[in-house]
């Protein structure tokens, strides 16, 4: 019998079978002096704002793996449906897969109802899934879109609580971004002002938080129109070297040149095949 949602693992919750083994391996690794590879987090500054005609979502583009930048230009604004987008902070795999599952289920729902999907529906699906996993899925999301009831913006926490607000920020750079919002947000802003505000909020996160960096991505959603601007601004372009350590030809004067050809004979040739089994 056909079901209305995409196949998810039928067992609820996580399998904790390997916890003991992992703890043992961690102990072993620490004894040698090294550590196990960490999950790639997105660090991140993400934010969203409701303006006069719709919502604007913004995100930085740095993905970190511990103290190393894993991806200098990763995309953190995920497509849920043509009128709904979602920024993700936290564990990169969790945000990516969660948004893909909900995007797929929402498309099935939209095809079944024949209507444009609502942001409230995406919110319900996301929060019910995250609550089911009791916070083990490390996905903190900013969900925004425009549907038949107007523009909506939600922030969703890894344990499954949500807030419906006119402006939200998430991620390690959320405090820096929220400081900018609290200072300059006004209801019913114009599109250009709102884009500038989001850009400034993300820039605050990029320059003041180590977990965020690189470029600023924007997504402007209005009724019937979508603007996915990636990148909106390359705030951290890689610098161009100003000097060169190579010496140009002619720096050292050549007094004389002698060329001696060496005639070598092949004495012995042996071929060793590589073991490719």
């Amino acid at each position: 019998m056909a079901t209305l949602i995409v196949n998810q693992p039928p067992v609820g919750g996580f399998s904790f079978d390997h916890c003991k083994r992992n703890a043992y391996l961690l102990g072993e690794a620490n004894k040698v002096g090294s550590s196990l590879p960490t999950a790639r987090k997105t660090g991140t500054t993400i934010c969203g704002i409701v303006f006069k005609d719709g919502v604007i979502l913004g995100a930085d583009t740095r993905a970190t793996e511990g103290m190393v930048v894993a991806d200098k230009n990763c995309s953190k604004i995920h497509h849920i449906s043509p009128n709904i987008y979602c920024c993700g902070a936290g564990t990169a795999a969790d945000t990516e897969m969660t948004t893909q599952i909900i995007s797929s289920n929402l498309e099935l729902h939209a095809l079944s109802t024949g209507r444009v999907p609502r942001v409230a529906t995406a919110n319900r699906m996301l929060k019910q899934m995250l609550f089911r996993y009791q916070g083990h899925i490390g996905a903190a999301l900013v969900l925004g879109g425009v549907d038949c009831n107007g523009p909506h913006l939600y922030s969703i926490y890894p344990h499954g609580s949500t807030d419906k607000l006119p402006y939200v920020t998430m991620g390690s750079g959320s405090l820096a971004a929220m400081a900018v919002f609290e200072d300059r947000y006004k209801p019913d802003m114009e599109e250009e002002d709102a884009k500038r505000l989001v850009r400034d909020a993300i820039a605050a996160g990029i320059f003041n938080d180590l977990g965020s960096g690189s470029n600023i991505d924007l997504c402007v959603i209005t009724k019937g129109n979508l603007d996915y601007i990636r990148p909106h601004e390359e705030a951290n372009k890689k610098g161009v070297r100003t000097g060169d350590y190579k010496y140009k030809r002619g720096t050292t004067g050549v007094l004389s040149k002698v060329v001696t050809p060496l005639n070598l004979e092949v004495v012995e040739e042996s071929v060793l095949t590589m073991d490719t089994s």
């Binding site: 609502r118 409230a120 529906t121 919110n123 319900r124 699906m125 019910q128």
Partner: protein, 246 residues
């Protein structure tokens, strides 16, 4: 070419007969007429009206507890025609489906989605040998946030459709032809016109001069506050207006 012969069970459970018919489903349709009632529903420009007979056969029965109009959600109601017990079961299931939808998807279930869901459930009964189809016809009246007034009907076969006006029950065919004539003339009725047309349809087809206690009327309008079942006084107002017009 020899016709396949059935083992004789095709009349007892929902399996195909050699002619490709499902006898149990056809019997379910006949069961709808067992109740002896007829219902009519009409969609107007900004309202939907459902009217059904109220027959209280026993003087000892409490008339307040006899009803065939049910509220499913704030903005969706239904009129059930057919076996009362099956009707109650379906209404309960419809209420559950509507509430579950609200929980899962965060908005009120649209009328067409609820009807589709009930029709899909009815279809399962036409395939499962272990369960019989339910002998009742559901007519949904509701207000959709995006599309306005909606009228849907679903039957024991699992078929459902949206209607401008429809009828169910014993005098279904006569009521439908009466409604067809009316719909041809005019399509966007006002609230008063819709109610009066529905009541006069029942009155004409059944040849009964209705008293307010013999009718049940359920309405939903774009102005009002959801699905409402009219009281006897309100029904009387419309009956009086109808008799004055004639």
């Amino acid at each position: 070419m020899s016709r396949g012969s059935s083992a004789g069970f095709d009349r007892h459970i929902t399996i195909f007969s050699p002619e490709g018919r499902l006898y149990q489903v056809e019997y379910a349709f006949k069961a709808i007429n067992q109740g002896g009632l007829t219902s009519v529903a009409i969609r107007g420009k900004d309202c939907v009206v459902a009217v059904t007979q109220k027959k209280v056969p026993d003087k000892l029965l409490d008339a307040m507890t006899v009803t065939h109009l049910y509220k499913i959600t704030e903005n969706i109601g239904c009129v059930m025609t057919g076996m009362t017990a099956d009707s109650r079961s379906q209404v309960q299931r419809a209420r559950y489906e509507a509430a579950n939808w609200m929980y899962k998807y965060g908005y009120e279930i649209p009328v067409d989605m609820l009807c589709k869901r009930m029709a899909d459930i009815s279809q399962v009964y036409t395939q499962n040998a272990e369960m019989r189809p339910l002998g009742c016809c559901m007519i949904f009246v509701g207000l959709d946030e995006e599309l306005g007034p909606q009228l849907y009907k679903c039957d024991p076969a699992g078929y459902f459709c949206g209607f401008k006006a429809t009828a169910a029950g014993v005098k279904q065919t006569e009521a439908t032809s009466y409604l067809e004539k009316k719909v041809k003339k005019k399509l966007d009725w006002t609230y008063e016109q819709t109610i009066e047309t529905a009541i006069s349809c029942l009155a004409t087809v059944l040849s009964i001069d209705f008293k307010p206690s013999e009718l049940e009327v359920g309405i939903i309008t774009t102005k009002g506050s959801g699905f409402k079942i009219l009281s006897e006084n309100e029904i009387d107002v419309h009956l009086v207006a109808l008799s004055e017009r004639e």
